[in-house]
Assembly symmetry: C2
Homo-oligomer: 258 residues x 2
Amino acid sequence: MVRLKLVLAYDGAGFCGWQYQKGARTVQDELERAASRITGRAVRVHGAGRTDSGVHALGQVAHLDVPASLAHIPWARALNGLLPRDLSVVSAGPVGPDFHARFDARSKTYSYTLWTEPEYVYPQRRGYVWACGPLDLAAMDAAAAHFPGRRDFKAFQNAGTEVRSTVRTVMDLSRSPGWFGPEVVWRITADGFLKQMARNIVGCLVACGKGKVPPDSVRSLLDEKDRTLAPGTAPARGLCLERVDYGETALDRDQVGP
Amino acid sequence: MVRLKLVLAYDGAGFCGWQYQKGARTVQDELERAASRITGRAVRVHGAGRTDSGVHALGQVAHLDVPASLAHIPWARALNGLLPRDLSVVSAGPVGPDFHARFDARSKTYSYTLWTEPEYVYPQRRGYVWACGPLDLAAMDAAAAHFPGRRDFKAFQNAGTEVRSTVRTVMDLSRSPGWFGPEVVWRITADGFLKQMARNIVGCLVACGKGKVPPDSVRSLLDEKDRTLAPGTAPARGLCLERVDYGETALDRDQVGP
């Protein structure tokens, strides 16, 4: 068997998230079905992270094992010929047998797009933004400054997934203009994300930008580690998994090939 | 009665174009129905131009007349509360009684987005691009240089609409990067567009970018004025009416108010 690394883009609106769930349409399930049609046998696909229902991706990463005889077919083209219109393989290629999309990930970067015009939303952008209205960007920047670093993000974790530790490192949280004038994009890079952590951080930034929460209270929210004290979760549709980065070790293994 | 000017954005995928057609869903019809619900009487909406079925808009302009008693309600908000999700009013306000969205338009600007990656399309962008694969941009630039100016664009007009003259002035035809790496955007500004002229010009640029037509043949295509000799029409989904510009006279009339 040869291990393949896939980079994936999907429109999250039509998926109940990444992970297989009986009776629900998921990204993992669509990929496994397409890959199985090519290999003629059951295939398990492992993602770098489980995106929630409705969350988009431009750079999700996954791995799967295929028979050596099929290692060098044009996998991206073959899968894209079978996949539905809302799921695309951006690239596919062999990696070393130890590469693991989830365990080898050093960091992930999500973008979150806010729409700040109060009166209208461009229909073309409706499925990809949170139309939260005008924002005090200086207040958001002040709030954002409290997040980077190695911290306990328990107050920004929603219930539902057991984890050994709620400590994560946020490497970067920065704001940039969007493609359209009324858009503001927040990008967050961390070594791992607790359940809905990115959306909870954005929910907190927006609460600060709306003047509902003072930016300096982020410090005490982090210290108190109580989800019930923190602002609400931002909607899924504004979130996009942009990239997953692998350390040099994993990259070296990539280059070893099959 | 008071005349209102509307700026409109829509996702063209769900519309059979701008203009009212019996039994078809059109932008004009949706707007007239929403406006009529507010005024309590039949309302006619006049657009700056008829976009084709499937063509998008971020800055279409229209005008309509409403009773003076309703001139100062928040029209954008009122209409957006009634319009479907794929059609939004960006702005709405009173203009002088002689303002005409179509006849006063000095120029219109369309964008056309091409997707140049051969293996995949981001699902989020599928409805807004023509996935035409790799392009020779230098060849396209050379071809594009032939279009600006006052010319007879008969070879770039599709059949179906009678016009007195096929002479139009292209003020600008320029290329810029898109939001996503594999995107190339062509923007074309002209004092008027013949039927499918923007899509026929892009179709010609892409034929040049694919090496199917030499860039210098654009000159003879324009000279020969024969649609059957020119390359095919680009698909509707890549096209977007970005803005309609009005001359100073019309702007002055805007400022006169009701």
